[in-house]
Symmetry: C2
Subunit: 533 residues, 2 copies
């Protein structure tokens, strides 16, 4: 498939006429063909109008058809074969194996949501049957289901050009919920976006779904992003990116005449707590594992371990020595974009030049746009006093905070903002100490992991990739895993509605065989859950 540089608006492919975007191969610094036309306001309007027109039809598609759409998108992505992988590698600078793995994850996300849709539990069906004999007043018949919020704006993320971009987690969960999607492509990978967008566009057509179910726009500036979030037909936003970007979208959404939910996954330094016995017994091993996690994918993960907390002393020195030795061997690697590389350099310089910070280790130096890993250390007192030491440095940089004792380490934890994850490294003798840290961690993170690092996010049912502000805009939800579908739903109750008008899922006799809560008691579903590939 040849790239055209066109917008995908419903069934059409049209040239955007508001400026141009070109991808850069960060490994070579070269500009890649073709030029992608930025959308005009009129083209944005057309995509939103189509999405609004598609909404009522799309949200009422039979569950099997909606599941088939998600599976068809996965199949169409696979069919793109090497063209997709190669373009994605060129545009992201990420290694081929990583992109292959990410494509697999993207397809398995789509299939996970296909299974969720078929199962139908996400509808959250509830029935409180009428009680005509109840005294003093009869009880009405009440039936509840969840319906889709409306058209959703999805912003592609730079660091997951497949798994959190055009057909990524936000798109999959929104489509699963019954929401049409308008994607604003990330300018770093427009070619990947077009290829993936065409795979979705084709799937929508193959399944005979309303054409506005999906559109893909390129933005030559910020106008389309802003216009999309402000458009009255858009009812929710999914975003993964910087704190500044996410906060700007939150403000736009709150300022609308009808405010809408924004699900922005923004920034996190993912504290890692090394407890005394674990550190005493395994300082070397933890140090090596940490270095590997820190530098994976040039550190360009939301879950990168950016902060290490431990009690100062010889065991921590051993950890630092092991980490230093490992990091020193690690070659620089290409970062996603020149802008990210520049910001990483600036962040590293800010930390490195801070009077209260020492440089522990640097990775190997590299070529243009390559990030050189960096490990720093500071004292708990300095960390508590200097706001600048808390900022996320997106990339393979981390700061070790030397705490004089566990009580101070606890104070440092209590000083942290909301985070996606926290990792604790513990041996059995640490359990009692660790237990006293858990409440503070639960209050400020979405996932607590033990004896591991958070890079590597399992896409499953019990995953939470979310957390209190500012790690996300809305800590009540997750952006990874099947629970993400809940973000795009709202409850609607039908009172005394005749069967002929009720949604099929709520009719007497449970014709769809879905799980339903009757008078508060859960009745499991009884339909066969079809194989979802």
């Amino acid at each position: 498939m040849n790239l055209t540089g066109e917008l995908l608006i419903g069934r059409q492919s049209v040239r955007g006429t508001h400026g141009e975007i070109r991808a850069i191969d960060p490994a070579s610094g070269e500009t890649l063909a073709p030029a992608f036309g930025g959308a005009t306001r009129a083209q944005l309007d057309q995509a939103c109008a189509l999405a609004a027109q598609a909404f009522d039809g799309y949200r009422e598609t039979p569950l099997a058809q909606r599941a088939a759409l998600l599976e068809k998108i996965a199949a169409n992505l696979l069919a793109l074969g090497d063209a997709l992988i190669a373009r994605c590698v060129s545009e992201s600078g990420l290694p081929r194996a990583r992109i292959e793995g990410e494509l697999g994850r993207t397809m398995s996300q789509l299939r996970l949501f296909a299974g969720v849709v078929r199962r139908g539990d996400f509808l959250g069906l509830r029935i409180d049957p009428a009680q005509p004999q109840r005294m003093p007043l009869p009880r009405v018949d009440l039936r509840l289901r969840h319906i889709a919020l409306g058209p959703v704006a999805v912003f592609g993320a730079s660091n997951f050009p497949l798994a959190f971009s055009v057909a990524g987690g936000d798109t999959a969960s929104a489509l699963a919920a019954g929401c049409p999607v308008v994607v604003k492509a990330h300018p770093a990978h427009p070619g990947t976006s077009e290829l993936v967008g065409r795979a979705i566009q084709k799937a929508v057509e193959e399944l005979g779904l309303p054409e506005g179910t999906f559109s893909l726009l390129f933005d030559s500036g910020l106008e389309i992003a802003q216009g999309l979030v402000s458009d009255h037909r858009i009812k929710a936003v999914g975003f993964t990116g910087s704190r500044a970007g996410g906060t700007a979208l939150m403000q736009l959404a709150a300022a609308r005449s009808e405010p809408i939910p924004v699900y922005a996954e923004m920034s996190s330094i993912n504290p890692v707590l090394l407890f005394p016995h674990a550190l005493g017994n395994r300082a070397d091993a933890i140090g090596k594992a940490f270095a590997a996690s820190l530098t994976l994918g040039a550190g360009q993960f939301c879950t990168n371990p950016g902060l290490i907390l431990a009690v100062d002393g010889p065991d921590l020195e051993r950890f630092l020595a092991a980490a230093e030795a490992a990091i020193a061997q690690i070659p620089a690697s290409t970062m996603l974009t020149p802008g990210i590389h520049r910001a990483y350099g600036a962040g590293v310089e800010t930390l490195g030049c801070h009077p209260q910070v020492s440089t522990v280790a640097r990775g190997q130096a590299g070529a243009q746009y390559q990030g050189q890993a960096a490990l720093f250390s500071t004292t708990a007192q300095a960390f508590l006093e200097h706001e600048a030491l808390r900022a996320e440095v997106f990339g393979a940089a981390s700061l070790v905070v030397r705490c004089p004792d566990l009580a101070t380490m606890q104070r440092v934890v209590e000083s942290l903002e909301g985070q996606l994850t926290a990792a604790i490294h513990i041996d059995e003798a640490d359990y009692d100490t660790a237990r006293s840290f858990l409440p503070a961690l639960e209050r400020r993170v979405g996932r607590i992991l033990v004896n591991g690092f958070a890079t590597g996010v399992e896409v499953s049912h019990a995953m939470v990739h979310g957390g209190p502000y500012p790690s996300t805009s809305d800590g009540r939800s997750t952006s990874v895993g099947s629970l993400a579908i809940a973000r795009f739903l709202r409850p609607v109750c039908y009172q005394d509605m005749p069967a002929a008008l009720l949604p099929q899922a709520l009719r007497a006799g449970n014709p769809l065989g879905l799980a339903v809560r009757v008078d508060g008691e859960m009745q499991p579903g009884h339909q066969p859950v079809a194989h979802t590939g």
Copy 2:
């Protein structure tokens, strides 16, 4: 129990020293004793500090203990007996039977949530067991539960001095979720608030729970309300009141350095759609039932039928004649506060004086602070053109929109903002027509009811009392019914956590016997659900 006019801060009763509030009996216009002291900023700070201290302990109380708290509050309310009923009647001007009924509802809400807590489904437990043999990478063990958001600020509502005030739905659902509550009492019923607050304070003490689990503040101005929503220890807000009030809280919450969710139930005109065959067959009966719903409780319900849509013609005239005759018989009734009475008068005057509006009926005139019912009519064209005709008039006022045909009626529906409810009156011959209206109604309301009126909100599992903005600030939730507990929860995932550190509910063997989703499949709970009274 004698009223003291004191604030309840944790276990203490202390005099607020920032101004005074006095209740007015709207039936007599007389000021009631005692004077209630408004809280100072320092007292607000103390309540928030106690709530924050209580949070970790309270949210981890055994489910049975938390359920017992809710039941104890209900029992303590009942024990207040006539003192509570009499004071509440004096402060609200509502009839005694209504207040007795509302107390019953308040107690049954508390017991409903006690049952929800015991059942434990609200924890949304999920387990994806480890797969150590999985290729190419082993799968980690993931376990998810929902935890409470943190201390919640609850604003008492004027129109439900028991059921949506100090121990009302917001407090019950927040306490059920595991959130400490700081209530800002509504100034219209401070005595009722103190009595109810003491019943809660006593229950917290009787159950041996952390003292900051509950506090009650009076506000002599707006400072405590604003300070509460802005306090960094408050993590969510529950509010029922005006659009202006709710919007102000939303803006305060969005402007915090850590934005928090606001659940504001604000305004709704609750469209009633009369379809041709139903109107043809039952115009008189519907007209009479409408008049009764309109004037119930002086029309002071969020679900009051403020807008009637029908095709113009003789059947509509019969409906109007029946409604007019019924309304003309209805005595004026005392409104909740002088302010609400004044606003009602102004709203009625605005409608009545509008050049495009005709007055159809007025109820009987009354004494000071009594509301006189009012029914108006206008044309679809005028309604579509004049924004002023869409404003909620809180009280027994309603506007009939004469539509030339069903297509115009559909356009009027599509022009409406978000609403709590919509009612459709249909006979079987209307079903096909009504079906074509349902998507537009689903998109903009939380509850669709058939052949009834929305006043009278069943407190059960399948109820939705919510809807898209501006009927509420957050259409993804309900403020009535057991699903309301979801508003105060967020998911936390535990990865590879040893059993000794896991929350009990997530340990192997399901020691609490709760429902849990394993690898996406729901496993029902197996604990006996204790009788909850």
